[in-house]
Symmetry: C2
Subunit: 203 residues, 2 copies
DNA sequence: TTTTTGACTAAAATATTAAAAAAGTCAGAA
DNA sequence: TTCTGACTTTTTTAATATTTTAGTCAAAAA
């Protein structure tokens, strides 16, 4: 890794720490700079604006997520177990980085095209990962289905939907506690069981 | 129906018209009163406050929904078809009453315990409806499963989750257009197909 | 040349206050 | 029992001043 990139990473890591503790909205560029004992213009040397720093944070978090998910991925396991493990990693990250929730930070950050585009891409990546899982399962004869991509998208959105339901039940902007999170994970796994069975029999 | 209740209904109907057109937040008690050519205190004779009028509206809409859903319910059809029809009714209502979205109106209306309780109850009712469907399907030997209530809850939350995903993709507070709604309906039906299959085989 | 900074400006969030609008009340009329 | 005009109280909204924060730049340090 080049030195410049290393510094960039340090800034991102510093930002993540602040974001997790205080949320994106309540973290200023000055806060981040002070934490790292550098001046604010230094930050702007590596990132054109705050939005791109946030973008860097999002990228980093998801890269870590994908890395871990791929590391824990054991293709020899039955599909259901693979999916269960993935759900566990997913929700561990969900819990760890909940405070990053960009909905909170700058009000219309979610309406920004750059951010939306990045999130779309990341969702696409996760979809591809699930598609790969379903594809391998099909190759092994564990399941049957026509359109892998389609099935993966449906599955992913169902998981995300159940997460969102959990957040909404917890109440808008409260942190979902461990109990609620376990309940959510259980629901996702139950759905997975039925879903996989549903792909198994094409009668 | 008693006369008093009839007047109450008229007020609720008037409120619904306003709410659909302008949203809950931008409708005042005066607006509703003027539409009905009565004075504001008349409204307060039938409802202790605005919250309870909104509560009445919510009740009315969901009662209509449940009525229609039960009217269209044909127990002789295969489960999947029953669920498809239910999804269609669901999303027709979703579209028609989207403007009621209580998230918009009074900011912390969703945090109110009375409203939350009512919504919980209504969700419970819908869950019971689905539980009945799954129960009958089991009796007919179409599907197999252990805990009907549990399965119904999982299914309902998955449907709701997919709806929420649709809303989020459309962008916070924009009205989801017909195309997005059809896509959502399709996803719900695709999930239904897999879900029902998953309940069919308990291998 | 690349990286960093102090001192700056421009933009945005926040607090303050006054004015307007809406919720909700009440004595009394229909 | 149902309804209303006239009222009070509470919330929103609008306007403005103040502070905070994002972002810039010329020049120093590495």
């Amino acid at each position: 890794m080049i030195v410049a990139d290393k510094k960039r990473e340090q800034i991102i890591d510093g930002a993540i720490k602040r974001f997790i503790h205080f949320g994106i909205g309540k973290t200023t560029m000055n806060d981040i700079a002070e934490d790292l004992s550098v001046s604010k213009p230094s930050l702007y040397y590596y990132f054109p604006d705050k939005k791109h720093l946030i973008l860097g944070v999002i990228e980093k978090v998801f890269n870590d997520f994908f890395e871990l998910i791929k590391k824990k991925h054991n293709p020899d396991l039955p599909v259901q177990e693979i999916l269960f493990n993935t759900i566990d990693v997913r929700n561990t990250f969900f819990q760890k980085y909940y405070m990053l929730r960009i909905t909170e930070g700058i009000p219309d950050l979610l309406n920004d095209e750059v951010i939306k585009g990045k999130l779309r891409t990341l969702k696409e990546s996760e979809k591809d990962f699930f598609a790969e899982i379903f594809s391998q399962a099909k190759a092994k004869g564990e399941i049957e289905h026509d359109d892998t991509t389609h099935v993966a998208e449906l599955y992913l959105e169902s998981l995300m939907g159940l997460s969102t339901m959990c957040i909404m039940e917890t109440g808008k902007d409260l942190f979902p506690d461990k109990k609620a999170l376990n309940k959510m994970t259980l629901k996702q796994k139950n759905l997975t069981t039925i879903f996989v069975r549903g792909l198994r029999c094409t009668d």
